[in-house]
């Protein structure tokens, strides 16, 4: 493994008396793709929200690029270079493709000292980004509410590829995609990782995890139940880790 990009050290999260995360420790290297697996309710999405600044951990600490790190808001995480694609899409369907692509990061030019949206520049950037990813959308000025589920997800995926950053978190990114679009999505992940960006992908589909990830981390009941290199395990072994039937072949835990 290359030098660690993000290190989680005994991160916990309680909702009242319920312990969603009981102490999660693992790390992600630069350019590494880690698949985060686990049953429903295992705490995967909670973990992603903690890294992405949507939730604060109850205890534990995180190191990002070797420095103590805690994002109090998604804006802070983004500023540090962490991009997130959420399970339920984060698009504003009442505005067009361009506005969604640049959400919160609009290109502006100053007119009499007032920032004014530079629509033409933004449209050019989006057009180029979508074209290079092979995504076809009839008009970039269409409101997202008129687009299909696949087109919406494609916008989000292209958005994270474009903004890049240092670490990308993907929570079930291919839920609404067809076979061909999923293949392209997996290619996008490899391409992003080859640029030295760390990728954490949450998925339910074992096949996807084995196709793209270098390492597989399994979370079960709020703890890391397995952390193994892909080539040292098998889908069956991973399923056993997820369901907790056996820890045999699970490798070093936590």
């Amino acid at each position: 493994m290359s030098e660690p990009l993000l290190v989680l050290d005994n991160v916990t999260k309680n909702y009242g008396a319920i312990e969603a995360l009981k102490g999660i420790s693992f790390s992600i290297g630069k350019g590494e793709v880690v698949a985060l697996l686990g049953d429903n309710g295992a705490g995967k999405s909670t973990l992603v929200k903690i890294i992405a600044g949507g939730l604060e951990p109850t205890s534990g600490r995180m190191l990002f690029e070797g420095k103590e790190f805690l994002a109090r808001s998604p804006a802070e995480a983004k500023a540090a270079g962490i991009e997130t694609v959420y399970q339920d899409l984060s698009l504003c369907t009442n505005v067009d493709v361009v506005a969604n692509f640049f959400m919160g990061r609009e290109i502006t030019r100053k007119v009499l000292g007032i920032p004014v949206l530079d629509e033409r520049a933004m449209e050019a950037v989006v057009g180029k980004a979508l074209a290079s990813a092979g995504t076809r959308i009839p008009s970039l000025r269409t409101n997202v509410e008129h687009l299909s589920g696949g087109q919406r997800q494609a916008i989000e995926l292209n958005r994270f590829v474009h903004w890049g950053g240092k670490l990308v978190l993907l929570d079930e990114p291919f839920a609404a995609l067809g076979v061909e679009q999923t293949r392209r999505g997996l290619d996008m992940i490899r391409q992003v990782a080859s640029q030295g960006i760390g990728v954490v992908i949450i998925t339910h589909i074992m096949q996807q995890a084995f196709q793209v990830a270098g390492r597989i981390v399994v979370i079960r009941q709020g703890v890391v139940a397995g952390d193994v290199a892909r080539n040292k395990t098998s889908p069956d072994a991973v399923i056993n880790m997820i369901t907790g039937e056996t820890l045999a072949g699970a490798g070093p835990a936590g």
Partner: protein, 331 residues
Amino acid sequence: MNPRTRNALEFVLDNLVWFMLLLVLVVFSLFIPNYFQLGIFANIIEASSVLGVMSIGLALVIIAGHMDLSVESVAALSAMAVGILFCSSGIGLGVQLHPEWLMVPVSLLLALAVGGLIGAFNGYLVVKVKMSAFIITLASYIWVRGLVLVISGGRSAQDLAPAIRWFGIQRLMGLPLTAWIAVACFVVFSLIMAKTPFGRHLVMIGGNETATFRAGIRVNRNLIIAFVLAGAIAGLAGWLLAIRTSGATANLGVGLLFNAFAAVVIGGVSLKGGVGTLPGVYAGVLLLSAINTAINLMGLPANFTQVIHGLLVLAAVLLDAFKQTIRQRLA
């Protein structure tokens, strides 16, 4: 459907309320004697200035996905504050400043500050304490109006200082300056909503607040600014109202809130948030004003106005649903 008819249809749908306004003006001009004259049209714009300004603030907050029921009472309080300080009879204190024109910025700032403060109070409770905007601003609607009654003792202030009154008397191209102020407000805030990141963010917050928060937009800050703006704009409406009536009474502006709501909805703003533009709202305001003028000219009892406004709001909501189905076919 070829792209050109499609674009044309989209254009009509986007600007439907303007076409309705045009249609109404043409029909009234044809069938109501004396309707078609510049003076009448000028009057329509003039009569809609207070309502128009108030509707801008209300529309901002609704587009951002919230609600501000307090704008009417806030306008009344601002008007009363200006009235008490700068009126010379009734409960007016008749404060004089030298030079006289100084009373203009002072009274304007006072009105804006009163409105902005109440807006900030509403915004803080809604955003930070996470209470329902409907309840918070309903409470403000009541207590602010109560405050107007308390500070005025139910009496009125008359004879506003001539330096301030000047804005209601001085005309430019047939319209008093107060009407121009309303038009300027629409232009400025339309540009802010359509062309600046702040406006874009408000629209997106109204569309999907979670998504904008995740995208790193400072949702709370933007929403509080929207409430402060709505309050300050209502304060400006109050200032205009004080000029228009040359003073302030305790029941000044009662009922304006519902007209403002009607204008906003007719103008194509969705109460669900995220949908609507300010030019549309202005068309809605003008439409209401055009109908009021027609009722006056025809000599119908003024009581009919309310019935017609109510039906108009109903028509606007139905029309909105109809527009949605057409758009879905288009997509």
